[in-house]
């Protein structure tokens, strides 16, 4: 059976690519510290020697739209083009092309449907920065096949937080039951407190540093019980109007395991939002 060689959870900040590649007067003062943290984070994936990446993210109204909106969707295609015109325009993100691991996609779809998750699927999926940001930060060679999994954290009505946790647990189980000798890293990205298009956006920090502090603590300790006691669809409106993206962190806590502390924990207080990076090694720390 396949081996889950790493479980990784991260914010997906679309400004990283431009900040990290800028030079001279265009380079922001926080870029060097940010790059240093990302390179340390990248080493945690490299050390796990993955063959395949399961990538959990959320489409930002690119291909998925309100006339036909899935709650959870698995890509099943031999290839994925990546990034969209408005992401080039606003963030300077490059177009990417990634290979797909169709056998694992098919396995996840079959096993998911058989276990009570009515997963939607796509045979032609152009992925966006929720998945390409962690490619850029963690595997800039973009040389490994992927299975993209999209969650709806964006267009209410949303699934509740516990359902994200359950899907994360199930993804871990499904990858571990894949009849293959491949080493699979499960990588998911979300947000801490975040405001987009509202009065609290683009402040000197994220909109709710206290929520961020507690969220990092929940994730680092794998404290699903404490997290699920406090986080609801309603409560996530309070730290910022885009904070429902935190549910993808909760999904990854499910994938990492209840009560399992992360082997790598880092964060960076930036303007607008806090960055946070976590890696778990189910088979022991290879570093």
């Amino acid at each position: 059976m396949a081996t889950v060689c790493a479980v990784i959870a991260s914010t997906h900040h679309p400004f990283y690519y431009r900040a990290s590649t800028a030079t001279g007067d265009d380079r922001p003062p926080f870029a060097d510290a940010w790059v240093e943290k990302i390179e340390r984070f990248r080493e945690t994936l490299t050390a796990a020697r993955p063959d395949v990446l399961v990538m959990v993210g959320s489409d930002h109204f690119h291909q998925l739209w309100l006339d036909n909106m899935p709650q959870f969707l698995v890509g099943k295609a031999p290839a994925y083009d990546a990034n969209w015109y408005n992401e080039e325009r606003e963030f300077g993100l490059p177009r990417l092309h990634l290979a797909g691991e169709e056998q694992l996609s098919a396995h996840i779809l079959r096993q998911g449907l058989d276990s009570g998750f009515d997963l939607a699927f796509s045979n032609e999926l152009r992925i966006d920065h929720s998945i390409t940001c962690p490619i850029i930060t963690l595997r800039p060679e973009a040389d490994l096949p992927i299975v993209p999994i999209y969650t709806n954290i964006f267009a209410p009505p949303l699934p509740p937080p516990w359902r994200f946790v359950e899907l994360g647990k199930q993804i871990r189980t499904m990858v571990e039951s894949w009849p293959s000798d491949q080493r699979v890293a499960i990588i998911g990205t979300g947000h801490l407190s975040l405001e987009l298009g509202g009065p609290r956006q683009f402040g000197p920090q994220g909109p709710d540093p206290e929520f961020d502090r507690r969220a990092v603590d929940w994730i680092a300790r794998g404290d699903l019980t404490g997290c699920l006691e406090e986080v609801t669809l309603d409560s996530l409106h309070l730290p910022g109007n885009a904070t429902h993206g935190f549910m993808d962190f909760m999904l990854m806590m499910g994938a990492a395991g209840d009560g399992v502390a992360a082997d790598h924990v880092d964060s960076l207080d930036l303007f607008h939002t806090m960055e946070a990076y976590f890696t778990w090694y189910p088979g022991g720390d290879p570093r």
Partner: protein, 119 residues
């Protein structure tokens, strides 16, 4: 209220560079054209099939015609769609992050709970 149609406008204009420029320079003309030609287009259909029932209210049409992002927020238009499109149109006229901060400051009077954005 037709939050869905507001979102459909913001979505389809933002994803098309030509429409972004037309909306920036001629919002009244673009909104009129869009409501006549695009509002009822079924985006997932390849053969030009149309719906028959989608139209803006007067307030919604006016908010779009006047680039009024504060009114759109109050109507429950999806804040991510509005922000992304308005950055595309107006960031170029300002210094780094200046437009984004002013956009938020214009909403400073808004308190929780924010308007419902569900569709």
């Amino acid at each position: 209220m037709s939050r869905y149609l507001l979102d459909k406008f913001l979505f389809t204009v933002d994803r098309d560079p030509e429409l972004v420029e037309r909306y920036r320079t001629d919002p009244v003309g673009l909104v009129e054209w869009w409501e006549a030609e695009m509002a009822n287009r079924i985006l997932g259909a390849t053969t030009g099939e149309q719906s028959t029932w989608l139209a803006f209210t007067d307030d919604e049409r006016e908010a779009l015609r006047t680039h009024d992002h504060v009114a759109l927020f109050g109507m429950g238009a999806h804040p991510f769609l509005t922000l992304t499109l308005f950055i595309a149109m107006f960031e170029r006229d300002h210094g780094p992050m200046e437009y984004q901060r002013a956009y938020g400051a214009a909403l400073a009077h808004v308190t929780l709970p924010y308007p419902d954005i569900s569709t």
